[in-house]
Amino acid sequence: MLRIEGVAKSFGTFRAVDGVSLDIKAGEFFALLGPSGCGKTTLLRMLAGFEAPDEGRILLGGKDIAQALPHERPINMMFQNYALFPHLSVRDNIAFGLKRAGMARAEIATRVAEMIALVKLDGLEKRKPDQLSGGQRQRVALARALARRPQLLLLDEPLAALDKKLRESTQGELMELQRRLGMTFIIVTHDQEEAMTMASRIGVMKSGKLAQVAPPRELYEAPRSRWIAEFVGDINLFDGESKLRDGHRLVIGTRDAGALVVAEPREPVGAGRFAVAIRPEKVKLSRRGPVSEAGRETAINRLDGVIADICYLGGTTTYKVKLDTGGVLQASVANSARIDVDAYSLNQHVVAWFTPDDCVVLQS
């Protein structure tokens, strides 16, 4: 439905967006994720028409809209700070776009009522934006952007101004709404949890380029580069020094964690720098190593160490294990019992273990 082809945009000598190509399917909930200054907002603003790309094409339903003005595009945007018109009531804010479309009065009234019911703002129609709470303003902004039934809805950090609890419930509502309306959503966010929760696909941006485009699970479990692995979630990284083939497995020698056995990666390991990566929740801890025989079979990677740091997070506890081989390994353990007599204490000796399939080999 939306095709972005080699789009680039510079501000002075700074290349904010540097040759981005991307296909977005109708009905998709797509997230642009990246640290601040990575160009994700500039890309979104080019889709909305507030910036014109220096290069490339933006095709919406096969038509190039790269140079079209904002009011000529069947795209609407929900702004980061909502940008509600302070001099207009809730009703007039929502009706603004409908009036511009030359819709009949009666039809506008019906549509506005429909939108107000959709975002649950009943009874607040006559209020001005400054008489609303943050959450209510967010809903008005959403209703205003949805009222014209755009082919594509852009959301610029839509939940950044809400507190954590409200943000989580609103995430659910946004997903539900997107499914029900069958609309295409593109959301820009710097919050990887938000992107993971809501989006069906995530595009990670770095220095104006798309670093990886993948569904949340693939992004997390099979990051394409070291940078992405570190940006999305926590990860343990051990730089590789040597590699040795052992059937369908690789034995990688690392300085900090000794020899680690990993599953053969899809792309062969090249000559450059490479590292073994393992997510903290994939690391198991025990006092004497894997318990069962089956466990012993798969748990080829066994690392001895002592607990160096404990971080209790409620649902999980993160342990930092100082390995005998020199490195530090993070392990995240679910607190599955309320009274845990088996919890580890500082300086306790532990065995950390994980399977070859839990590891990823990262190059570059």
């Binding site: 909305a48 028409g49 507030f50 003005l69 904002p70 009011h71 795209i75 609407n76 945007m77 702004f79 980061q80 700070n81 940008a83 509600l84 018109f85 302070p86 001099h87 603004f96 776009g97 511009r100 479309a101 001005k128 400054d130 205003r144 014209r148």
Partner: protein, 304 residues
């Protein structure tokens, strides 16, 4: 809860200071002018009577009070010269303020849309003329507008006119002078409101299908109304009482109330009539001032 406890002593003094200022420098002089306006002119020192002399005793004071009359106000109300002067003052002020708004708004809008560092430069350019004396600047305009002045030389050189145009001592010259002198007072409040307006609001309007001219009329202009109000009043009120610019640049056949006042006071030495004219002017100006006050109050309420 005692409200007296809210302010410590220095804070309380700070709260009172503006009132002290108002009483000393507005109400007391106003009382003097009001009293003079109710007196009659006399060839004496001071040039009016009666005079309140506290040393002359209670009866003399009572007699002085009885001698006060509203004759001067009746004169002003019945004499065409004064009525015309007020009407002309208001006409000139309304026309000039409208011109100022038409010229000042685009300039302020352009300034507010400049890159940040250029905004400061533009601001200095607007304020720089103030560094030269106001009178010198008006005299410079006389130089430019006179028969063989710069403007006519340019027009002749460009063959736009075949003969020098008469500019000086016309209303056109006066309007040029007024608009030139008051432009910063229109630009600065407009610029202040336009510069602090969130750019995302205009973008949102465009995003919702409004072409640029609708974005301006439906969002930018309504949101800049507080600045428009401030600019209009900052220009309108002093222009009504203006007398230097019309005196130097306009013809002498139609006078503004400021010029009439000046004539009564300095040429005719008729302090009482001049004072009465000043008081009527003040009352005329109170109407827009009160409108402004209400506008500000409404804004404050909206701001909460």
């Amino acid at each position: 809860m005692s409200s007296r406890r809210i302010f410590a002593r220095p804070a309380r003094f700070a709260a009172i200071a503006p009132y002290v200022w108002m009483v000393l420098f507005f109400l007391v002089p106003f009382a003097f002018v009001l009293k003079i306006s109710l007196s009659q002119t006399a060839i004496a020192q001071p040039p009016y009577e009666p005079v309140f002399d506290l040393s002359a005793g209670w009866d003399a004071l009572k007699a002085a009070f009885a001698a006060l009359s509203a004759d001067n106000f009746r004169l002003i109300g019945s004499d065409d010269i004064y009525v015309f002067a007020y009407v002309r003052s208001l006409t000139v002020a309304i026309t000039a303020t409208a011109l100022l708004l038409l010229i000042g708004y685009p300039i302020a809008y352009g300034m507010a849309r400049l890159p940040k560092r250029w905004q400061a430069v533009a601001m200095v350019l607007v304020i720089v003329p103030f560094w030269t004396s106001f009178l010198i600047r008006i005299y410079a305009w006389i130089n430019i507008l006179q028969h063989d002045g710069l403007l006519n030389q340019i027009l002749l050189a460009l063959h736009l006119v075949s003969q020098p145009v008469v500019w000086l001592s016309t209303d056109t010259a006066m309007y040029i002078g007024i608009v030139y002198s008051y432009l910063p007072f229109m630009i600065l409040p407009l610029y202040a409101t336009l510069a602090k307006m969130e750019p995302a609001l205009e973008e949102a309007a465009g995003d919702l299908g409004a072409p640029p001219w609708q974005v301006f009329w439906l969002v930018t202009f309504p949101l800049s109304l507080p600045g428009v109000g401030a600019g209009v009043l900052l220009c309108f009120i002093p222009i009504v009482g203006e007398f230097v610019i019309p005196d130097l640049l306009a013809g002498s056949n139609a006078l503004m109330i400021g010029q009439t006042l000046w004539l009564e006071f300095f040429t005719n030495k008729d302090w009482p009539v001049a004072s009465a004219a000043a008081i009527v002017l003040l009352v005329v100006l109170l109407v827009p001032l009160m409108l402004y006050e209400r506008l500000q109050k409404r804004q404050l309420e909206q701001g909460r």
